[in-house]
């Protein structure tokens, strides 16, 4: 088990180094760039040259990369070109917002998706099953942007059930501990702040959850259908076990293996969904930061760090998936 983890971490390091080089080269070859953004289109060549030199962009790209890596090893990601703040700080501010949003979305997707998929499989071919098939098709194909604005329109403008945007109402007193607002409120016993944050969280989380929810329902349904045909389910029935035992220990424990893999992949894919969702609800997390760093004149240092962070999250999530796989399936453990 330990060997697997160590091997995966080594793979991670290699992946990140390769990826960082790719990203580094790629970003610097994109049209447009921070110089134009900072100085405007009509800056004099002298001023441009000065700034290029100051930022080190006149050196060969590999030299730039080497310097970047050197600083990286000391934990220094450089400063944002847009704001001048250290990149770690800029990202640190936005990180909890996105994690909170993504975690809420995954809780919704898993919490609803697995039971729904199970029920659909058990009622195969009947109304509930057909509804879930139609629903998941819709969930997968509807564009997030569209769904986001639709929900926002209906539930905030028309019904006024939820606040339209942001993570917290103005004037709510909250103390930041972790940066996860719902959690912070609970930790500091400021429950009204928690409730307010939760209230803001629901619509964006639902929006972000649609695709993973639809995928999880489908995979769970297919997987449960497979397991229902297995001989050991018949054995469990022949033992006269209770429904509850058969469902949990015999059907779901086996059916969840592919679902866990899906959850890992979907968590990675959440990052792209978060960019759109955060735009719609003005969420102020990493998605917003990515958007601003690209459209507001290529903020190389921030973008670089963001892409590496995304890769890191992806790999770590999949490592967790593999570990939980080994936990659920003893046949994996011995290998």
């Amino acid at each position: 088990m330990l060997r697997v983890i160590v091997r995966r971490l080594l793979q991670l390091v290699v992946t990140l180094i390769g990826l960082s080089l790719l990203v580094f080269v790629w970003l610097r070859n994109l049209p447009g760039g921070p110089i134009e953004a900072l100085l405007g289109e009509r800056a004099t060549p002298e001023r441009r040259a000065l700034l290029v030199k100051a930022l080190g962009y006149d050196q060969p790209i590999l030299v730039q990369y080497a310097k970047f890596m050197q600083r990286l090893l000391t934990g220094d990601f450089g400063n944002s070109i847009r704001s001048g703040d250290p990149v770690t700080e800029v990202i640190g501010r936005a990180f909890p917002a996105t994690i909170e949003l993504a975690a809420a979305a995954m809780i919704i997707a898993i919490g609803l998706g697995v039971p729904l998929g199970y029920l659909a499989a058990r009622h195969r071919g009947r109304l509930l099953d057909n509804m879930s098939i139609a629903g998941t098709l819709l969930g997968i194909s509807i564009p997030i942007f569209f769904l986001g604005y639709l929900l926002k329109d209906v539930f905030t403008q028309n019904m006024h059930w939820f606040p339209p945007s942001g993570r917290m109402s103005t004037g709510v007193d909250n103390t930041e501990v972790t940066g996860f607002f719902v959690l912070d409120g609970l930790l500091t016993r400021e429950f009204d702040a928690s409730a307010d944050a939760l209230w803001h969280l629901i619509l964006p989380a639902l929006t972000l959850a649609t695709i993973p929810l639809a995928v999880i329902v489908r995979i769970t349904r297919a997987s449960v259908l497979d397991v229902l045909n297995e001989d050991f389910v018949r054995t469990a029935e022949a033992k006269g076990l209770r429904h509850k035992t058969i469902r949990g220990r015999h059907i779901l424990r086996n059916a969840l293996l592919p679902v866990v893999t899906t959850i890992g992949l979907q968590t990675g894919a959440l990052l792209s969904g978060a960019v759109l969702t955060e735009r719609v609800y003005n969420w102020g997390g990493l998605g917003t930061l990515i958007y601003n760093s690209i459209s507001g004149g290529r903020d190389y240092p921030v973008l670089q760090a963001l892409i590496l962070l995304a890769a890191l999250v992806f790999v770590v999530v999949n490592l967790l998936v593999d570990l939980s796989y080994a936990f659920i399936d003893p046949r994996v453990r011995v290998r």
């Binding site: 001989d231 054995t235 029935e237 086996n254």
Partner: protein
């Protein structure tokens, strides 16, 4: 009174857009306490469907089960699903053909034995595990303490079937149904498992329904044998009677196709000609007619009835093999 009395049991599969298919056709037989009864016949004759119908384990949809399954004074087919669930595993145990796929791959053997004790005998996990250890020991699994924590893929095929036998017998049921329990095993292991089953049913007084297509298994184990063909019982006889004087041409053919130690060297085995695919529907005559050497006109004029024989058995045939020439 019989422990189990199956009366006119029929199972008709009906899928949307398909013709109804009668897999089990008015099958009747009974099992006395402690008795071992064989259900014999070739693949597809309805052995498994019969046993699943008795257990109430057929799919909930797509089939119609009629007749009676009287067990211990109650018709199992009329029980509420929850009452049947209480009886399965407690009053009737069952073991299946493929021991690997019949065990849950992600649950330790110990838990798979213990859960049935927890369910029906109200034990908590700790007590149930202790009992499970003794059960594994009783079915001849070496080092049972270690096996409790192991998973099905970590033990051999023979041991898996032993574990399944331990599970089926955990609550000391009065009836055990074994559906081809040795077919998936090596020949040497087959003999061990059969010996074990025989020993266990003798010791505990459990009645056994032995389902098999292998007459060798029947010879060593069964008191009474029911031969099934195309979903119907075609011959029923006490074991010695059946082996000494098979009356139905199908039974006769089955016996002749079994290699015998005492048959003259070089003599060819007589396989039954044709295959199940040649069957005609019972309503048009005897389903076996297209493959039968004894066929007479009456055989194509409606289902031959099942009638008692002079030796206390039952026979469904218009022109049975004569008693003298029965076995070479």
């Amino acid at each position: 009174m019989s422990l189990l009395d199956v009366r006119d049991l029929s199972v008709v599969f009906q899928r949307r857009g398909e013709r109804p298919f009668t897999a089990v056709d008015k099958v009747s037989f009974s099992v006395e306490p402690g008795q071992t009864v064989g259900l014999v016949g070739e693949s597809g004759c309805g052995k498994s469907v019969t046993s699943l119908a008795i257990m109430g384990l057929l799919p909930r949809r797509g089939n119609k089960v009629t007749g009676e399954v009287n067990f211990d004074g109650a018709d199992l087919l009329k029980l509420r699903p929850d009452d049947m669930r209480d009886r399965r595993g407690r009053d009737i145990g069952m073991i299946f053909q493929d021991p690997l796929s019949s065990l849950n791959p992600v649950v330790p053997i110990g838990v798979q034995v213990a859960e049935v004790l927890e369910r029906h005998r109200g034990m908590d996990r700790k007590v149930a595990m202790k009992e499970a250890r003794e059960l594994l020991d009783a079915v001849g699994i070496p080092d049972p303490m270690r096996r409790l924590k192991e998973y099905p893929h970590q033990i051999s095929g023979g041991m898996r079937q032993r574990a399944l036998i331990a599970i089926a017998l955990a609550c000391k049921p009065r009836l055990l149904i074994a559906d081809e329990p040795t077919t998936a095993l090596d020949v040497t292991i087959q003999a061990q498992i059969l010996t074990l089953l025989k020993q266990l049913v003798d010791e505990t007084g459990t009645a056994l329904i032995m389902i098999t297509h292998d007459l060798g298994v029947v010879a060593g184990l069964c008191d009474t044998v029911n031969v099934l063909y195309g979903g119907k019982v075609v011959e029923r006889a006490e074991r010695h009677e059946l082996f000494a004087r098979p009356r139905h041409p199908y039974t006769h053919g089955l016996l002749n196709s079994v290699p015998r130690l005492d048959s003259p060297r070089g003599e060819r085995l007589h396989a039954i000609r044709g295959s199940v695919a040649d069957n005609i529907p019972w309503v048009e005559g005897c389903a076996f007619a297209p493959r039968c050497d004894n066929v007479v006109d009456a055989c194509l004029e409606g289902t031959p009835p099942l009638e008692p024989t002079a030796t206390g058995g039952d026979l469904r045939c218009n022109n049975p093999v004569s008693e003298e020439v029965a076995v070479p």
